[in-house]
Symmetry: C2
């Protein structure tokens, strides 16, 4: 361990400020004052405390530093440049199309684990990483830099509660309490006492410091890891700190300085006269890397055709089955594990199972943290409650995260519990996530196989499962590749193609029987892969039925299966007629509701007849 | 004020338990044990404390009671039945299609203000109602019954923080701390001390009681309204409380009792031997009702064709303009008001403006609370951050809420800030909300007129505004009805119809000029109403261009404008070719990004030529 030279650290902090100001001025936009407030704490962390390999930012046992206040990105970039990862001159390419030094951090950069910039998300990711370190027997620590403004986000308190619950003493939050938000002062200003009470009430050890006093910061950091609780360092800072005409002044949020202002600011800032402290003070412990490859094979499935098994239950069975040969898999749930059936995994693999309680935003953030450390996290709850975490899911898309989500209890087919428990917009949500895969099995075999596909696919995947029991349709050796579909009924002379998935597939099959008896042939397709859609399979079938397609889905009419098929195939001249839920659903029996909202066999029969007429 | 007879109240509480058990047993599903834990506190509130007119549940100065723990709906229904609003026999219709006594409460019932059942949302709504009471000079109080499990939701702490900030002493939360969640015990169990510390740290007065001791409850209620802080009553209860074989036992969440079990439970419960306390103890103060009708007219707009004005700024100007003649309008923002331009309203109408800080879930919940009391709340932030509140928005849809949302900074055209700040899935989200109206203006005049439409329309409306300045396209007297579209370029012999909105409309107009110069005529449509879509206008135009349509949108390819047009019109044989963002966006200049992601004039020109070839 090297000695810490406080004067040099102060110089480094000012150098980080200078870079941040120069880069944002060059870009013509950005948040220099939000960098300046945190420059001292980041200098202390990065060059006076953290253990990492500055040449290998992805090393698995490096301490992690998450900028939850992602708008201070230039400060993070400056620290890595000063540590020698890339030339400091590159910092002036900030926010340009040909540089990955973007306006907010993204994992296009090797030293960024997850995209940040939507405030209040970083601490959840940090909780996931800290849990993962413990699971993997690694001693890296996770540091999360938060702004004070973002502490208004409930997700911060969800994360704080879970960190306290799991006693994550390898997790350290630093709150840059600079008092000023974007449009006005924060609700708490410099009231550090209230921040302290809040964190203490959520199970944290707290330290209050002057965030511009490096001695105080290093003293507090020296005690990191002591005790059982996570630690929060509440740093009283000044926005624009270090520059006389910026600091603690309103009206400077998210504004780059003019060239003249920048020159004036930089002239005030004394960079280090020495060199040589521009590297981390300590190297990471060299420890074996956890396994990040999938297994050679998963155990087989064993269902009997016609058996009645809910796809949600098959999800749980698959999770348990995969877990037996794939140590990368971890499970998270939000107090619904006995309904989503993730409890099958929880019971067998308690060390890899994490109850997140009723806090879906944090659950998704924690899962994203696990994914960022090489795990394959499956987070499950009712599909409707995943809407709670849409922002986290959206940002996980930007992070190219290997996140797996499973939403159960979709559609009106849940029945009596009523609208608040029905996932009727989850397909719209998950389709709109960049790079996502959206899967919707109808029977137990396809559900199991699609869970395998999720574990093997790199990227965000969503599995939509249903509450009711449905008949096993497929043989155990059937394959369900991502982007595929199954043509279940097809004959020469078919007049209409019906595309369905989940409970409505069984309605489509019933309708096909009825129509066949009446002399009207229809093709039936199981569109288990909603995104990517099996464009060619559906198009080929449609073309054989005069381009007439009916989609039927237990989902609202917008953004789901019908829009997916129409959006992909209308350009080819396919005519898509959507059957979907179009009003506020009521409580009732599942079969009553399918009929009431026009997505049952009878509705399909009527529509097919009308089209074929 | 009537005397309170504790023995009668105890009997009433047991009567509520009996109804809850009998109704869920009759339904075959539901949450009887979650009703039993809260039966005493609800009996005390409803029949021993609250001031309301049991024959007129919508009376504007009634005390409000929100069941944030919506799964205890049978208890709420039983209370209103016992108060005489409807026959107690109706309680046995619970969860049936022909009864509005649904599995979770919805505003189909006259005594339910907002749908609940997605946990953790009620307190935010309560904050909105309490703020509204203060604004309207009414003395009604808002009571919110929460479960302990849902206190893990961050939205509860967002609401708690804001209630503390605004010192809402007319807001009373009661937490039914029954220790048991759905799948296991809650993280805090019966640790009331920690709940107390948390609420105190968020600015609340706290009282701890035995939730089955009516004397304690009434004593605490007698001091409601004292002091400046909101009050939380932490009630230590037993799940299934009052029934020996249910209470404090695991495994009974969300399970109806069998007929035998129900009979056994009911035999243990002593209903009141007296009658006569089955009514509220006090009537509401009779006070004038606030205005809930819109104004005769709004002030006119005054723009000059060709002037450069961002639609986000026009939104702010419109809000200010409407506010001058429409006292129903209130504004909420999440610390972005200087970017969304809602600050124009905030500065002029500070009494009707509510800074919600960086906590979008709560902001939407608070707005829903205002809407439930007759106001027209406009909640604004960056479009991407509204994804944070998708669950609240979804449930507002079920509530038929008169909520107005404005999302700014959409798409890659925001430029340098990068993906985390770009709203690229907001159309997909808002289209999927049941009953929603989704509007997307391109210029200042249409933006202003659409804000008017939002204020006049009853129901959830979303306005999508852009960051860049765009030219004024329309005259000040142009009308923009919901469900309309404007055909901006059209001539005989046009080969393709281009449908656009927002910044891409200007790219389409540029493309049309280029193509015209090259001899290729195209029709250009401003689809400012994304939902409902101007189906007939677009269809008629498409049919004149050989059914060839190009949609171009600054949004991901899924669930937005392209899917909307294809989903509506593919059934008519219209061929929709979508231009949209299809990868993770990068930081850069707006015009660079429109080009990079294939949604600029050049991309439209290329596509149109390919189609017309």
């Amino acid at each position: 361990m090297n000695d810490i030279d406080i004067e040099s650290l102060k110089g480094i902090a000012n150098q980080l400020r200078i870079h941040s100001i120069a880069a944002t001025t060059a870009a013509g936009s950005g948040h220099p004052t939000s960098c300046c407030s945190a420059a001292d704490v980041v200098a202390a962390l990065f060059f006076g405390h953290m253990r990492f390999d500055p040449k290998d930012p992805r090393y698995h046992n490096n301490d992690r530093l998450l900028f939850s206040k992602g708008h201070a990105a230039p400060l993070l970039y400056a620290a890595w440049a000063e540590a020698g990862l890339f030339p400091v001159e590159d910092l002036l390419k900030l926010r340009k199309l040909d540089s990955d030094l973007e306006g907010h951090p993204t994992p296009r950069l090797p030293f960024v684990d997850v995209a940040t910039g939507s405030l209040g998300q970083g601490l959840s990711v940090g909780v996931g990483m800290a849990l993962c370190a413990r699971l993997d027997g690694l001693d890296f620590r996770t540091y999360v830099l938060l702004g004070d403004g973002e502490c208004a986000e409930g997700s911060v308190w969800e994360a704080a509660a879970l960190a306290g619950h799991y006693q994550l003493n390898n997790l350290i939050a630093v709150v840059d309490v600079n008092r000023l938000g974007q449009s006005e002062a924060t609700a708490l200003g410099h009231d550090l006492v209230t921040y302290r009470k809040r964190f203490e009430a959520f199970g944290w050890r707290t330290e209050e410091i002057d965030g511009h006093d490096l001695d105080e910061m290093l003293e507090v950091l020296a005690a990191v890891g002591l005790g059982k609780q996570p630690l929060v360092i509440l740093a009283r800072t000044l926005k624009g700190g270090g520059v006389s005409f910026l600091q603690d002044k309103e009206g400077w949020h998210g504004k780059a300085l003019s060239a003249e202002e920048a020159a004036k600011a930089i002239a005030e800032l004394q960079p280090s006269s020495k060199t040589g402290i521009g590297h981390p003070i300590e190297a990471p412990t060299r420890l074996p890397a956890p396994k990040t490859d999938g297994p050679a094979a998963y155990l087989p499935v064993a269902y009997k055709l016609g058996d009645l098994v809910a796809t949600r239950e098959a999800f749980g069975t698959a999770l348990l089955r995969l877990g037996q040969t794939d140590p990368r898999i971890v499970a998270l749930d939000a107090d619904t594990k006995n309904s989503t059936y993730s409890d099958k995994f929880f019971k067998r693999f308690s060390d890899r199972s994490f109850e997140c309680f009723i806090a879906e935003q944090n659950m998704v953030g924690v899962a994203t943290g696990f994914a960022a450390r090489g795990k394959v996290p499956f987070a499950s709850t009712f599909a409707c409650f995943l809407t709670r975490a849409f922002d986290q899911i959206r940002v996980a898309g930007l992070s190219m995260s290997n996140l797996k989500l499973a939403g159960s209890h979709v559609g009106v087919s849940i029945g009596e519990d009523g609208g608040s428990q029905m996932g009727l917009e989850d397909l719209a949500m998950m389709r709109s996530v960049v790079g996502s895969v959206v899967l919707y099995p109808s029977d137990a075999v396809s559900a199991e196989k699609l869970v395998e596909q999720m574990a093997l696919h790199k990227g965000i995947c969503y599995l939509r499962t249903s509450r009711p029991k449905t008949a096993v349709l497929y043989n155990n050796d059937e394959l369900f590749p991502v982007g595929g579909a199954k043509v279940l009924r097809q004959a020469a002379g078919d007049k209409v193609t019906i595309v369905a998935a989940g409970v409505t597939l069984f309605e489509a099959l019933k309708a096909a029987e009825t129509l066949k008896a009446e002399g009207l042939g229809v093709t039936v397709i199981d569109a288990y892969s909603i995104k990517p859609l099996a464009r060619q399979v559906i198009l080929a079938a449609a073309q054989k039925t005069n381009n007439l397609v009916i989609t039927v889905e237990d989902h609202y009419a917008e953004g789901g299966l019908g829009d997916a098929v129409a959006g992909e195939l209308s350009s080819e001249g396919v005519r898509v007629h959507k059957l979907a839920v179009r009003e506020i659903p009521h409580s009732g029996k599942p079969e009553e509701l399918l009929a009431r909202y026009g997505i049952d066999a009878q509705a399909i029969v009527a529509k097919a007849k009308a089209l074929a007429a």
